[in-house]
């Protein structure tokens, strides 16, 4: 199994408190890797390390290595904007940019210098179709992004993330603000997308993890407790903590 992201000895401190402790991970290519764990165990922080959003928070200090395609992205010589373009981010709740639906999706392409109208129109349609949103918005592309429902906004954010042509999709509890139908739609989309993308999904919903995961990383209190292929992980958890979590006695 080929690894897309390898994390070695990663520590993260926020204001001196250690949030992530000695994380070692292999995230396989073109699979859905689920990072599972109770709230506050460092899942979101770990994800922010991967696209270096930690950079914008001065209180965060990070140590260790994150290799993506065998390059250490924590190396200060790395161009952060190029790095972030490799990854689409889907956050806990959608943050539409303050512009129209069309421009929300076109934004990433525009700042990459692609400004021809015909090209943009074609691509925006393509990505909105990929996110299953095209039919709902094709007549109102000029409306503000905020005019959509939360579920639609999340799909628009997915389209927007795909439009910068990433290799990796980072999804941070993407369905936590959505109704069951919208979250199922997003989940279905992930299964289709994994053919071409490496997907890292953070969740605390056990059922969602079981439905989607190819590979599971279980975290607890800032540490990786257990990781492995989903079938093995759910069928025969090795540690006591994992067993307790899977049976629902810690949450």
């Amino acid at each position: 199994m080929e690894s897309k992201i390898i994390i070695e000895d990663l520590d993260l401190y926020i204001n001196g408190d250690q949030i992530l402790k000695n994380i070692n991970l292999h995230i396989p290519k073109n699979k859905i890797t689920v990072i599972l764990g109770p709230s506050g165990c460092g899942k979101t922080s770990l994800m922010k390390c991967m696209n270096r959003l930690t950079d914008i928070y001065p209180e965060m200090r990070i140590r260790g290595k994150i290799l993506i395609d065998n390059e250490n992205i924590l190396d200060t010589h790395q161009d952060v904007t190029l790095l972030r373009k490799k990854m689409g981010l889907l956050s806990q709740r959608p943050y539409p940019l303050p512009m129209s639906i069309f421009n929300n999706v076109a934004f990433g392409m525009k700042i990459n210098g692609k400004k021809k109208k015909a090209y943009l129109q074609h691509r925006v349609e393509h990505y909105l179709k990929q996110a299953n949103l095209w039919d709902e918005v094709k007549h109102r592309l000029k409306d503000p992004g905020t005019s959509l429902s939360i579920g639609q906004q999340q799909r628009m954010c997915l389209a927007r993330g795909l439009a910068v042509d990433p290799d990796i999709i980072l999804a941070d509890e993407p369905s936590s603000a959505l109704d069951p139908i919208s979250s199922l739609e997003i989940e279905k989309k992930f299964v289709e997308l994994k053919e071409n993308y490496t997907i890292v999904l953070v969740t605390h919903i056990l059922r969602q993890a079981m439905r989607l995961a190819d590979y599971v990383v279980f975290m607890y209190l800032g540490e990786v407790i257990e990781q492995g292929p989903a079938k093995e992980f759910f069928a025969s958890p090795k540690t006591e903590i994992t067993k307790a979590y899977l049976s629902g006695s810690i949450n």
């Binding site: 696209n51 959003l53 950079d55 914008i56 928070y57 001065p58 904007t81 190029l82 972030r84 373009k85 990854m87 689409g88 981010l89 956050s91 709740r93 943050y95 539409p96 940019l97 303050p98 512009m99 129209s100 934004f107 990433g108 700042i111 990459n112 503000p144 992004g145 905020t146 954010c157 927007r160 993330g161 910068v164 980072l170």
Partner: protein, 296 residues
């Protein structure tokens, strides 16, 4: 009272209800007082000013003997004030917007420095405008420059710059972290985040900042006293001295002649009307931008 205090309530609940009643009436009283004060100021200006306001007042510069009750108008001061206020607001905006954006994007790695800068700006905000005027005057004496519209614009821009920066800054500060994260993760640079996203998201704050600054700029008398000077002519270039409405009001009010005093209220009415028109227009203009703003 009976409606609020049912006898089935426990003592604690009764105290809660009374507390609620007290604060609600206190707030209502405060709101009414403030509204009354505002209305009475506008009323007294308009009541005294509007009867003296004539076409002659706003279409002519003062002729000889204007300050003794002869004919002429205050066009010199209207023109001077409008030039000065627009010029300095524009200058302060062009400098202030990038500063505020810089504080909230590039400098977010240095929060201590940002805190110090904000503190200094707040100090500058509190400095009385006569100090700015004196500072400008000292500079002009040093460089042997005469008082002029340009000098006034620069000094007033300095005076309103802290207001401009801090008011925009407060808006930027309250924009959600998730929006910034979303923009960064699409590969935006700090500049793209600043000018393509944050300026749109914070448009109401920017409009407020401009209005606050404009109001201060057009209404301030002390800082322009020595820097722009005073003249009966309408300025035709930045190098000429210019009259301003606050000073014109001051000179007319200090006259012993009742007719001239009355005209001071007309000038005050003109000043108030200019400010009202500017704020209403800019609110209307910004309305169409506001529909895109993400609310949280």
């Amino acid at each position: 009272m009976k409606r609020y205090l049912s006898k089935h309530y426990t003592l604690k609940r009764k105290i809660q209800v009374l507390e609620e009643l007290f604060f609600r009436s206190a707030m209502l009283t405060a709101s009414i007082l403030i509204t009354l004060a505002l209305c009475s100021i506008i009323w007294s200006i308009m009541q005294k000013g509007l009867p003296c306001l004539s076409w002659e007042m706003i279409s002519q510069a003062p002729k000889g003997g204007f300050y003794f009750g002869k004919e002429g108008g205050i066009l010199n001061a209207i023109a001077g004030s409008v030039y000065l206020a627009f010029g300095s607001t524009l200058l302060a905006f062009v400098i202030g917007l990038p500063v505020a954006l810089y504080l909230n994007t590039y400098l977010q790695r240095a929060p201590r420095l940002v805190t110090i800068i904000r503190f200094i700006l707040d100090l500058l905000w509190g400095i009385p405008s006569i100090v700015y005027g004196a500072f400008g005057f000292a500079l002009m004496v040093f460089f042997r420059l005469p008082s002029s519209l340009a000098a006034g614009i620069i000094i007033v821009a300095l005076l309103i710059l802290p207001i401009m920066i801090r008011a925009i800054d407060e808006g930027l500060k309250s924009s959600p972290a998730g929006l910034k994260e979303a923009a960064y993760s699409l590969g935006s640079t700090n500049a793209e985040l600043s000018f393509k996203i944050l300026t749109r998201q914070c448009m109401p704050a920017i409009i407020t900042a401009i209005l606050l600054s404009f109001g201060r700029a057009i209404g301030d008398a002390a800082s322009v006293l020595f820097t722009t000077g005073f003249t009966d002519n309408i300025p035709y270039s930045l190098g000429q001295p210019a009259a301003t409405l606050p000073l014109s009001i001051f000179f007319q009010l200090s006259s012993p002649i009742p007719q001239v005093k009355e005209r001071a209220y007309a000038a005050a009415a003109v000043l108030t009307i200019i400010i009202l028109i500017t704020s209403i227009l800019s609110r209307l203009l910004s309305k169409k931008h506001n529909k895109n703003i993400v609310k949280f």
